[in-house]
């Protein structure tokens, strides 16, 4: 299927790569269909692009690159409460905020996005009672 990305232009993606967010993304309750787009080869950043709104996208990165001891298992467990399958592999992505120079970009490790590889369901979970915050410097 063909989608539009304001950042990356028109994109052709397989239908099965569309990720359904049954709860939306926090603050964007209506946006429930996304896909992950490569930004450039070898980049540690990817784009979580709405397949419904070309102007809605989030830069994401692997939280383990920010914190090697990031609790991926806990993210999986919390994601399971919101609809992921406990037995499927998941991908975890931290949403990146780029405030523009001179401020440095940061990653949201408090509320990561978990994506089920088999169900193609995405959820943004909250690590309540953890030391993580919405802004960890990259």
């Amino acid at each position: 299927m063909r989608i539009e990305s304001e950042q990356l232009g028109p994109q052709e993606i397989p239908q099965e790569s569309v990720i359904r967010f049954p709860h939306g993304i926090v603050g964007f309750p209506g946006a429930d269909r996304f896909c992950v787009l490569e930004v450039k080869p070898g980049s540690r950043f990817k784009l979580l692009q709405s397949t419904q709104r070309p102007d809605l996208a989030f830069v994401v990165t692997d939280p383990l690159l920010v914190d090697a001891s990031y609790p991926v298992d806990m993210v999986h467990r919390l994601g399971t409460e919101l609809g992921l399958d406990p037995d499927e592999p998941i991908a975890v992505a931290a949403i990146v905020c780029i405030p523009g120079a001179p401020k440095r970009p940061s990653a949201n490790l408090l509320a990561p996005v978990a994506i089920g590889a088999r169900t193609q369901i995405g959820v943004q979970v909250v690590l309540h009672d953890s030391p993580y915050q919405v802004r960890h410097a990259l």
Partner: protein, 79 residues
């Protein structure tokens, strides 16, 4: 303002003691576990399709998501 507030059609205020609970519909149970000074410990049991947030965290995450969505246009600043 949270979506729940936007959809709010009625509001009730209760007095409850520790050990008592409130039922919301057939599927949500709010139990008062402990009251100590100005702190109340509450347990929420809800179906998995209803995420439960602390309000201040929900608002902080929503604000950060909105800023991240605006800032995604600066993608070329990253390597």
């Amino acid at each position: 303002m949270t979506p729940a507030m936007l959809l709010c059609r009625s509001m009730l205020t209760f007095t409850r003691k520790a050990g008592q609970a409130i039922l919301i519909g057939d599927t949500i149970k709010v139990s008062i576990k402990e009251v100590r000074g100005r702190h109340v410990r509450v347990t929420i049991e809800a179906p998995r399709e209803i995420p439960v947030y602390r309000q201040e965290l929900y608002e902080q995450i929503a604000a950060e998501n909105r800023q991240a969505a605006r800032a995604a246009k600066l993608l070329e600043d990253l390597d």
